[in-house]
């Protein structure tokens, strides 16, 4: 794929609409631009369309109307056989971690390299590198069920980092974690962002959003209702009802 990153926003949505086959309209006329190295919170109630937006960005779903560009690439025109290479540019973590229970920490992370045919020679140093970024040195041989929730999410983050992604998507990454652990995960995402990776985090976690004072994009009923540069979880009192 093209190594040249074109000028303009790294992620761009123009008039995006998503209607599921059963008729549910998940997104209507969503336009959003995210520049490189941005850190964005995506907030809104359940069913507002946050997850749909995330799924559209990794093209697990196709937009019904409108266009989505990632690094200048039009996702609606992306051929299916090129899809894996888009996924390698995007690191992704979820509320439920999606770790493989029968593999160790090391194997879980290495799995992402193995199945994308990364050269096996570079596998060990790369896995060790990402495990040290997330602070899991010494836990390589543990199985997921021997780890705390926070540690499991760190493994998932390490796995998402093995391809040196330019974009990091986190869908409710702290949804299953206690507040203290959630903060540790947020610190890790900030650290990843500081290394030059764009981070988009969908969340319900009001406290984190309010304290961080980062860009907040709020979605309700499939539409962007607010986009503030140093926002909180809720709109300022003046605008709220």
């Amino acid at each position: 794929m093209a190594a040249v990153v074109p000028a303009g926003p790294q992620i761009s949505l123009q008039g995006v609409q998503k209607t599921y086959p059963n008729g549910t309209v998940a997104l209507r006329d969503v336009s959003l631009e995210i520049p490189k190295q941005d850190f964005v919170f995506l907030v809104g109630p359940s069913g507002a369309g946050k997850s749909t937006l995330v799924r559209l960005l990794i093209r697990e779903e196709k937009a019904t109307a409108g266009s989505i560009h990632i690094e200048g690439q039009d996702l609606s025109r992306l051929k299916r056989r090129h899809l894996p290479y888009l996924r390698r540019k995007i690191g992704m973590v979820f509320q439920d971690f999606k770790l493989l229970p029968n593999l160790t920490v090391f194997q879980n992370v290495a799995f992402a390299l193995r199945v994308t045919e990364g050269a096996l020679r570079h596998l060990k140093p790369k896995v060790e590198e990402v495990l040290s970024i997330v602070g899991l040195e010494g836990k390589e041989g543990k199985y997921p069920d021997q780890l705390s929730g926070g540690e499991q999410q760190r493994v998932a983050i390490a796995r998402a980092l093995v391809h040196d992604p330019r974009i990091f998507l986190a869908d409710e990454p702290t949804g299953n974690l206690d507040p203290a652990t959630s903060w540790e995960i947020i610190q890790l995402l900030l650290q990843i962002n500081a290394r030059g990776t764009t981070v988009l985090m969908a969340t319900h976690n009001r406290e984190i959003v309010d304290v961080m004072r980062r860009r907040v994009v709020a979605i309700e009923g499939g539409q962007i209702v607010r986009d503030e540069d140093a926002g909180g979880y809720h709109a300022p009192a003046l605008e709220s009802h």
Binding site: R81, P84, L86, R87, K98, A112, V115, T116, E117, V162
Partner: protein
Amino acid sequence: MHRLWNRIDFAFSSAWQNFWRNAAVSIASVLIVWVVLLALGSLLLVLHSLDQIVALEKTKASAISVYLADTTPLSSAMDFKLHLESDPRVSSVEYVSKDQAMARFRQLPALDPSVIDTLGTNPLPASLDVTVKDIRDLGAIDQEVRTSPLVDKSPATNYEPNVIDKIILLARVAGIAGLVLIIGLTGLSVFIIMLTIRTAIYLRRKEIEVMKLVGATDWFVRWPFIVEGLIVGVVGAVVAVLIVGFGYRPAVVNLQSVLIFVPLAFDPYYLRVVLAAMLGFGLLLGSVGSYLGVRRFLKQ
């Protein structure tokens, strides 16, 4: 090179794990492949034997042997030979003495010469081998020679009307029945392999989800399942090939000892062709079954 090796290694080790993780289903699919190939191999060999018999019978079709009673003097036999040769329907007549008949008999493939030696006397009659110009006249000539006092009565001739037609019919019936059976079993085995692959995919659904998430290509995800189907095909084929390969010669020998006058022969060249066909068909069953399995269930 490194990447290719990684791909092969991953596909084979996953396929092997899949095979044993749902061992019951895998073994069922191996068994059905085995049955199909056994049926295929046996059918091809049986049809080939019938072909051999038909070919041989056809060369004999325009001739009958008229067996002479042991009491018939050679001069009478020669007169009878001349009489037959003067018949406009007959093209040639050959006299076969008792000794010549015995010499021919000894050449039958399945006969143990020591058994013949224990007989002491020669039980075989001398004969006049009559070749006709038109096969349709054979019946009439058979009827005429039977009335001659020179002719042995048990049996008088080796005339067997329609024997070729019967064999050809038998070959055709066996061929069609075998083909129907094999087509049915083929459909069943493809279906069962497909089911095996679907089970394997279901058991690996979490891994497949993660693979797609981190950017594995469609073919990287599919290969382990295709390989699993091929393993099923190859294992089933190898067992069937061993049985047919080692069983063909003993089967022919045993049949020869029962059906002494049926010209069955062991044909090693044709056996190799059949074994290769079985192996190829096993691979085909495995790949088609697994392809159908992954095609429907690894689409997004």
